[in-house]
């Protein structure tokens, strides 16, 4: 079995101290395999967002550890950690987090700017991604002038521009109507299937979770027993996707 992209071992995360101490995660083990689409579901306050933050290396666990491609991520510090996050992950959030006054292109190339990519190269790659998502004609528009669906596609373009290994999507369709939401879902799963990008979706939407290869349910800081059928299906699927990724890379 290939090394999982992300492996979380006995993750604990608590906030506060003494009587106000709150345990958000109480011992969670998760493996995210290359090329799979994993849904993390749970009610609000269940700890699913905390789990995503830990997997995305945005936060550090109180105890336990996260391995990225087989290497312990807690060794990464400062600049190195920032670089890994910049190159490995893409983020899609429910609230878009676009800079309204900046153009679509500027919003999309933000990760490249942070990575220190040159101006010409930034523009080239930004336009390439926008073309893939049929947004090339909107490149010069200001982000605030777009519709909700267009905004979320820009966000996906931004998540893609750095050619990441894993895209974290936190309620990606939460702010969209059904039709637009479905289109955005199609886009995300298409990327997962065709380009082998690993997808970690945090949602409380059962329909979205059902489209993923595998789902884990977080309740009160622990992983609840997953759907065994879904678990069984996952192994082969992720294997296929992993090959697809390798083929694409080749």
């Amino acid at each position: 079995m290939p090394t999982p992209v992300l492996r979380a071992v006995d993750l604990h995360r608590s906030y506060g101290r003494g009587p106000t101490r709150f345990d958000a995660l109480k011992g969670v083990d998760v493996e995210v395999h290359a090329g799979e689409a994993l849904a993390i579901v749970g009610k609000s306050g269940s700890g699913k967002s905390t789990l995503m933050h830990l997997l995305a290396l945005l936060d550090r666990p109180t105890s336990g550890h996260v391995d990225l491609n087989g290497a312990a991520a807690d060794r990464l510090r400062g600049r190195e950690l920032n670089r890994v996050r910049n190159r490995t992950f893409g983020f899609v959030f429910q609230q878009f987090f676009l800079t309204p006054s900046a153009t679509v292109l500027e919003n999309v190339i933000l990760p490249l700017k942070i990575a220190g990519v040159g101006r010409t190269e930034r523009k080239r790659r930004g336009m390439a991604v926008l073309e893939q998502l049929d947004l090339a004609d909107k490149a010069r528009n200001r982000a605030r002038d777009l519709s909700g669906g267009q905004k979320q596609r820009v966000v996906i373009a931004r998540a893609l521009v750095n050619d990441p290994q894993v895209i974290f999507a936190d309620e990606p369709t939460g702010n969209l109507d059904t039709a637009t939401g479905a289109a955005v879902e199609d886009l995300l799963f298409g990327l997962n299937r065709e380009r082998g990008i690993t997808l970690v979706v945090v949602t409380h939407d059962d329909d979205l979770a059902a489209r993923c290869d595998r789902r884990i349910t977080v309740r009160d800081g622990r992983i609840e027993a997953s759907d065994p059928a879904a678990e069984g299906r996952t192994g082969s699927d992720s294997g296929d996707a992993g090959r697809t990724a390798e083929e694409l890379a080749a």
Binding site: A56, L58, L81, N82, R83, N86
Partner: protein, 433 residues
């Protein structure tokens, strides 16, 4: 993120909320404008003083006199029939009613014995009662102590020739018409007569040729006649007619030294003279005292401008704190995408510095325009009598340092909000509604 992108993003962010930026820039503008004007005032006046330095005396000359005795603690001073009024170089020396011991021949020998003294001669002081030309009206006038090497600021004509055998004089421009000359060119070459009272109370006259006309000046010879050596000697001789007492004595002596030896050597010479019981004053000392007063006034004015700038600095803090608050999620996103805290700090502090740059650049430019306009207007009206005086002048170094100073203040103000932005936790920022 590359440094150039940090600057580019910071500049773009500055214009994101225009009204707020404009108001903050305006506050800085007021401070920078004021600072430009006050600094320009200092530059203008000091430059004028520098221009008139040559008029007061040569730079290789120092005036040496006996040290004034301490009188504050010793009660009344004993009468000294040989005491003379303390006097310095130039026409309007610091005569404060204090009397000092005269420079005797022994003193001259003592001073001449000091190594670095090139030559020493007593400074002749002459008091002239009046001047007239061609039997016309008599006017009161003072005659300065012209030392070879001094330069009078001339309106026309030539400097008095120290080596000439015939008495020569340069008269102030104000005396041309009253003395009955139609023009400056008519005055040059004509003779004027100086009247003075000798030791016996009898009136003596000395005739001298006018060789030049001097501009009115702020200090120095501009308001008095500048004689050459021959005229000074003739006047001194006339003054001593029938004298028995102190007439042959001078209050001070003129020492020549080598200014090329450096400030330390000059100071050493002064110290040596001080040990021998003399006080020595160079031209620089005299100018220095004057400049110190100007610099002091300008410093106080600048302090007010800096206070305005500090107030503007709080404006920057306020503006950027609001900006950081508004952009909390954006900061969180950038950090999630791998932007380091240092870069976030750089982004906001650069934005602050840029706001400072905008305010100071506009302030300095408009300050220079306004200062030049006012300076020129005053030069032709209020200060028309002081040709060469531009009240407000600018030199590139001080103007550039204002911009740098303002940017430094802005940067310091920006560190507070920038630090807050840099410390933000990406997760908390992304949750922020």
């Amino acid at each position: 993120m590359r440094a150039v992108d940090v600057v580019g993003s910071a500049v773009a962010n500055t214009f994101r909320s225009r009204t707020r930026t404009v108001l903050t820039v305006l506050a800085i503008f007021i401070g920078a404008f004021t600072l430009t004007i006050t600094t320009g005032l200092g530059t203008g006046i000091n430059r004028y003083i520098d221009q008139t330095v040559a008029e007061i005396g040569a730079e290789d000359v120092m005036t040496v006199a006996h040290q004034v005795e301490e009188t504050t603690d010793d009660g009344p001073r004993e009468y000294d029939p040989d005491a003379v009024a303390a006097s310095g170089l130039g026409a309007d020396g610091p005569v404060g009613g204090a009397t000092i011991d005269p420079i005797t021949d022994d003193d001259l020998a003592t001073i001449a014995a000091i190594d670095s003294v090139e030559s020493v001669e007593p400074l002749k002081q002459v008091a002239v009662d009046w001047v007239e030309a061609d039997g016309g009206t008599r006017y009161e006038i003072s005659v300065g102590s012209f030392i070879p090497g001094m330069e009078v600021v001339l309106a026309s004509g030539e400097q008095p020739d120290a080596a000439a055998d015939d008495p020569q004089v340069v008269i102030p421009v104000d005396f041309v018409e009253p003395l009955g000359f139609d023009s400056q060119s008519q005055a040059i070459g004509s003779d004027v007569v100086f009247g003075l009272t000798d030791a016996t109370g009898t009136e003596q006259t000395v005739t001298a040729e006018v060789v030049g006309v001097s501009e009115a000046g702020l200090v120095g010879a501009g308001s008095s006649a500048s004689p050459n050596t021959a005229l000074t000697d003739a006047l001194a001789a006339a003054q001593q007619t029938g004298s028995t007492g102190q007439a042959a004595l001078s209050g001070s002596a003129v020492v020549r030294f080598d200014p090329a030896a450096g400030a330390t050597a000059t100071q050493d010479l002064k110290d040596e003279l001080a040990d021998a019981g003399f006080t020595a004053t160079t031209v620089e000392d005299q100018i220095g005292a004057f400049k110190a007063v100007i610099d002091g006034i300008v410093l106080v004015l600048n302090a007010f401008a800096v206070i305005a700038l500090l107030a503007a600095g709080f404006g920057i803090v306020n503006t950027l704190l609001m900006s950081v608050q508004e952009r909390t999620r954006e900061i969180g996103l950038m950090k999630a995408m791998g932007m380091g805290s240092g870069r976030v700090f750089g982004l906001f502090s650069t934005e602050a510095t840029f706001i400072g740059f905008l305010g100071s650049a506009v302030g300095v430019l408009l300050g220079m325009a306004a200062g030049t306009a006012v300076g020129n207007a005053l030069a032709t009206t209020m200060f028309a009598d002081l040709p060469g005086l531009t009240l407000i002048a600018f030199d590139p170094v001080s103007v550039a340092s204002i911009v740098v100073l303002v940017m430094a203040i802005a940067f310091l103000a920006g560190t507070i909000p920038a630090g807050r932005a840099a410390r933000q936790d990406p997760i908390e920022s992304l949750r922020y509604e």
